[in-house]
């Protein structure tokens, strides 16, 4: 019967696909799911056979895999010196010039991935080829892909995204293992240590579209930190307010506010533990002059600011400054 043959082919292709899946997984030095692998093998003797065949084919690839992708084969009787010669990744990296806005550009292993780092207090705007605008706050590191203007990675710090929406090719921001995908959007992401916070002011963002797929419309925020994943309501006008020289908070921990201030103004700021645990609701106006800024901001939060050389300390109490 013809149909039966087709079904068998399809089943074979399915097994091959799964076997490849397991090959990729079991070849990972960190692989631990041997129980899951056993269950898959037990389900059908054809599974093990397909896996073995692929594994052997994989090990036979060794002889064909070029050790260096762009090393031209050197004839054995080449007269030139046989010493080390510089080898470049995919034809080398004339890339740096493209990024005028960057304070420092760190080249990674690939010439088409570039990283942009801003110093504290020195925000920068990056215009991507697709019309998307990324505003990096001070003290922020991001990576972009020259070949794919629809993606970016926020490694540390804070950035606001004004995305040119394209439903067929959504813009994606990677933060650690998480992905935020735009659906026509202005949004802001803060990533400090292992905590991530996103606020959406226009349109919609999808958190980890391939996993949790949490929809974040305008006015919604999401935080992910040691306490887990939380979704909350936020004021859209508070999102990325640092761009307008303001920081807007609703019941935010002073420790977090301290980080925002340091990043935005480029001052070295320590928050005493007691002060850091306090909560603040309101708007703080940013001022480039630290003395003037703290004179206004500290009492607003019910705290005291103390100058320590070039650095500042925020602590509890509004008594006389020591």
């Amino acid at each position: 019967m013809l149909r039966k043959g087709q079904n068998e082919n399809r089943a074979g292709a399915m097994i091959d696909k799964e076997a490849l899946d397991w090959l990729v997984r079991t070849r990972d030095p960190d692989f631990t799911d041997w129980d899951g692998f056993t269950l898959w093998l037990e389900a059908d003797p054809a599974h093990g056979a397909a896996y073995d065949a692929l594994m052997v084919a994989d090990s036979e690839l060794d002889s064909w895999l070029p050790a260096e992708p762009v090393a031209m084969p050197v004839a054995a009787n080449d007269a030139g010196p046989r010493g080390w010669r510089p080898l470049r990744w995919i034809g080398g990296g004339a890339v740096a010039a493209a990024l005028v806005a960057a304070v420092s550009i760190g080249m990674f292993t690939r010439s088409d991935i570039y990283s942009v780092t801003t110093r504290p207090g020195e925000p920068r705007t990056i215009a991507l080829d697709d019309g998307t605008r990324v505003e990096l706050n001070g003290g922020t590191t991001m990576r972009f892909d020259r070949n794919n203007p629809r993606s970016a990675a926020l490694d540390a710090g804070e950035a606001a995204f004004t995305v040119r929406h394209d439903a067929a090719d959504p813009f994606r921001v990677t933060v650690g293992d998480d992905v935020f995908e735009d659906a026509g959007t202005v949004f802001n992401i803060v990533h400090v240590d292992n905590a991530t916070q996103i606020g959406v002011s226009e349109g919609k963002v999808v958190y980890n579209p391939d996993a949790e797929a949490i929809q974040l419309p305008a006015g919604r925020g999401l935080a992910e930190d040691a306490q887990g994943l939380r979704v909350m309501a936020i004021a859209p006008e508070a999102v990325a307010s640092w761009r307008q020289g303001r920081l807007i908070y609703a019941n935010a921990a002073v420790a977090q506010i301290g980080q925002d201030i340091g990043r935005s103004l480029g001052v070295q700021l320590t928050v005493a533990p007691g002060a850091g645990a306090q909560r603040f609701t309101g708007t703080i106006r940013l001022d480039r002059d630290p003395a003037r800024f703290f004179a206004e901001a500290a009492p607003l939060m019910g705290l005291t600011a103390v100058r320590q050389g070039d650095a500042w300390l925020l602590k509890e109490g509004d008594g006389p400054q020591s």
Partner: protein
């Protein structure tokens, strides 16, 4: 060998046997496992960081070797019967040059296939397959999700295994 590994081996013995059977060892599973354990013991590895995955990996490699030598034997027998009927020429010199040319051509084709997949896929595959870097670390390095790394690897493998199949039938 540390007593720790020995205890862990004993505790996981049934599961390892089950794995070997699922892996196609059949009635040989007990003997194979015993053999494997004696070889590991003889090696005197000292403490092993992740003993359970380590034992499973050893068992997996064992079955892979078994499969490999079985197919090699099969191939040898097949070659023998094919050659026995034909006229055997002996062009030692000629094949050496030929083979080098074919080798270089194939190397170029592999490069082209990898390049066509895009730089990220190529980089992920290179880090994983040639440099032996774990997928989690690769994901961190590139700032992408683990799923993306897995998918990139599957893509690269699919393309390369298809190319290899073409080589094998040429």
């Amino acid at each position: 060998m540390a007593d720790g590994l020995s205890a862990i081996f004993l505790a996981h013995r049934p599961a390892l046997l089950r794995f070997l059977r699922a892996r196609g060892a059949g009635d040989d599973a007990e003997d194979l496992l015993q053999d494997m354990w004696m070889k590991l013991e003889a090696k005197d590895l000292g403490p092993v960081a992740d003993p359970v995955p380590y034992l499973y990996r050893a068992a997996n490699n064992l079955m892979l070797d078994r499969y490999r030598s079985a197919t090699r034997r099969e191939r040898r027998e097949q070659d023998w019967s094919e050659n026995a009927g034909g006229v055997m020429a002996d062009p030692v010199e000629a094949t050496a040059i030929d083979e080098r040319m074919i080798f270089n051509q194939r190397l170029e084709q592999v490069r082209a296939v990898l390049r066509a997949l895009g730089p990220r896929v190529e980089l992920v595959f290179r880090r994983f397959r040639l440099e032996g870097v774990g997928q989690k670390l690769i994901a961190e390095e590139l700032g992408v999700s683990l799923t993306t790394v897995e998918k990139d690897l599957q893509k690269a493998y699919r393309a390369l295994l298809a190319l290899k199949q073409k080589f094998d039938t040429e």
